[in-house]
Amino acid sequence: MAPQDLRIEAEEARLLILRMLRGGRSGHVGGALSCVDILTTLYFDEMDIDPLEPTRPDRDRFILSAGHKALAQYAVLARRGYFPEPWVDTYSDLGSRLAGHPDMHKLPGVEANTGALGHGLSIACGIALGLRLQERRSRVFVVLGDGELPEGSNWEGAAMAAHHQLGNVVAFVDVNDLQISGRTADVMNMEPIADKFAAFGWKVRTIDGNDVEQIQGVLAEVDRDSSSPTAVVAQTTKAKGVSSLEDTAASHYWKPAAAEMAEAEAEIRARLQQLSLQTVAR
């Protein structure tokens, strides 16, 4: 998909993320907005998937280890056609298919029940091993948050992916530098993240994780037949795309007032219009 079309899709997803917070709802919007360009590129451009056959055995898999960023996954799954878009309006309702964390048994396209941090990488390794044992060439993509890296289980996953030579695993670390309490560097500094993954035996690339062309570029380099898993250290901006929230810890969990919501939506709509005009101009 052309980068411009991906940018438009990502902005549409941002609008859906905000739509899920209408009516006095609240959610983990900061991380959702920081990783949504990665999810958009994966679901629209990279992964071998079929929304009409979401459990096809040879599909590529996506695991949102940072499960609280579910708003981004819901928005992209809805845009990609996994479920009717109006379902997003049930976000966080009693018994909704769309809760604060994803549930594989409730929503097509969700592959694991994440939310507790530090679980996704090991689950992804299990899927990757299972696919390889069954001689399937499918790949497993994971999004980790930088804030979850202190969980030791991530490094169990990092070790096993390298040891078992899981070249079919690609893990993005959404490095938005912030978590609930403040700067990740101040709360628990896990830098140098790239060096840590490299030391575990991963191939590591560092990109701007809000730039779809860089995301596409790094994905084009991944060799699924390699004996090394790939870590993409994606430098992002927390709450990217809503300027009043960007790069603030307060955006981690946000309950927008009506006026704040209107302003945020207007900002995204204006950007969408600009992107569309650029497309037409070409």
Binding site: A112, I123, A124, C125, L133, Q134, R136, G157, M160
Partner: protein, 319 residues
């Protein structure tokens, strides 16, 4: 004088049963946390090297892997020391296996206090309690080699998460080998004074104690339960209704495990229930036989405890 019964290693029995099953079911894969051979999987590793996955000493990650493997249609069996595959990885067991509803089999070996000299870090005296709190997880506790073989097959055939606890020290055959139905117990001795419900390797000494009391004229109904969750409520209620008194026996804390499962199903009956198990404290170390004797779980101790409970209506360990 009768010949001493043949004793066999429960871990080898278990590993062999899984290996035989796996010969006919290519979905079965084994996960090891530097623990596969000690868990009886040496033969499996030699026979199916591609299906034997080593992760080194880590249980949380390996449990997540088991969940991921299961999502691709495989049947992962993760066996290691019971204390570590229930405690260290509890959140992964809870979220990745139970909540995700995955067809994962987790087997805790050297359960109870069989690592007697290694101490409380290596004991599992709360595993039934914590795992039976996870909705949808079957908890198996086979009592003799035949049941271990049959339970292994039942575990692998069952669709869904299973935790099975086996011991370490060699054990004797207690029952004729037969079909294993998850959630079903067996009446092994009949009596009318009280109902004794036992599980796991503790059943061997319980049988001896029940037989010793029979010689004294005290006949006890003995229900042997290889499934702790879901417990065979029908069998227990039927017996408890007749005897009016239930006594549970397990190598586990005297609360939370089989005792709680039985107590919960007895609720409406208002029958007396006494629980024999380990007192709720960090138990001492030593030889396994020494520990069983200390805590009244050897044949003599159980005979004494059962006699006292029946006579006085309160457990000897509470005195």
């Amino acid at each position: 004088m009768t010949a001493a019964p043949e004793l066999v290693d429960p871990r080898k029995t278990f590993g062999q049963a899984v290996t035989e099953f796996a010969a006919d079911d290519s979905r079965v894969v084994v996960l090891s946390a530097d623990s596969g051979v000690s868990s009886g999987f040496g033969a499996f590793r030699d026979r199916f090297p591609g299906r034997y996955l080593e992760f080194g000493i880590q249980e949380h990650g390996a449990t997540g892997v088991a969940s991921g493997l299961a999502t691709t249609g495989l049947v992962p069996v993760f066996a290691a020391i019971a204390a570590f595959v229930t405690n260290r990885n509890y959140e992964a067991f809870r979220n990745d296996v139970a909540y995700m509803g995955q067809n994962v089999k987790i087997v805790g070996r050297n359960g109870g206090m069989t690592y007697s000299d290694l101490g409380p870090t290596h004991y599992s005296l709360e595993d039934y309690a914590i795992i039976r709190m996870l909705p949808g997880v079957v908890v198996l506790s086979p009592q003799d080699p035949g049941e271990i073989r049959a339970a292994a097959r039942a575990m692998l055939t069952h669709e869904g998460p299973v935790y099975m606890r086996i011991g370490g020290p060699a054990i004797a055959n207690l029952f004729a080998e037969g079909p294993f139905v998850i959630g079903k117990g067996r009446t092994h001795r009949s009596g009318d004074v009280a109902t004794v419900v036992s599980t796991g390797p503790a059943t061997a000494n319980t049988i001896a104690a029940v037989d010793a009391l029979r010689a004294e004229g005290v006949t006890l109904d003995l229900l042997c339960m290889p499934t702790v969750e879901p417990v065979d409520a029908e069998l227990i209620i039927e017996s408890a209704t007749r005897t009016g008194h239930v006594i549970t026996v397990e190598e586990h804390y005297d609360r939370g495990g089989l005792s709680a499962a039985v107590s919960e199903c007895l609720g409406p009956l208002r029958v007396r229930h006494d629980a024999i198990g380990l007192p709720h404290q960090h138990v001492i170390t030593g030889t396994y036989e020494g520990l069983l004797a200390t805590y009244g779980l050897d044949a003599e101790g159980l005979t004494r405890q059962l006699r006292d409970i029946v006579a006085a209506g309160r457990p000897a360990s509470a005195k």
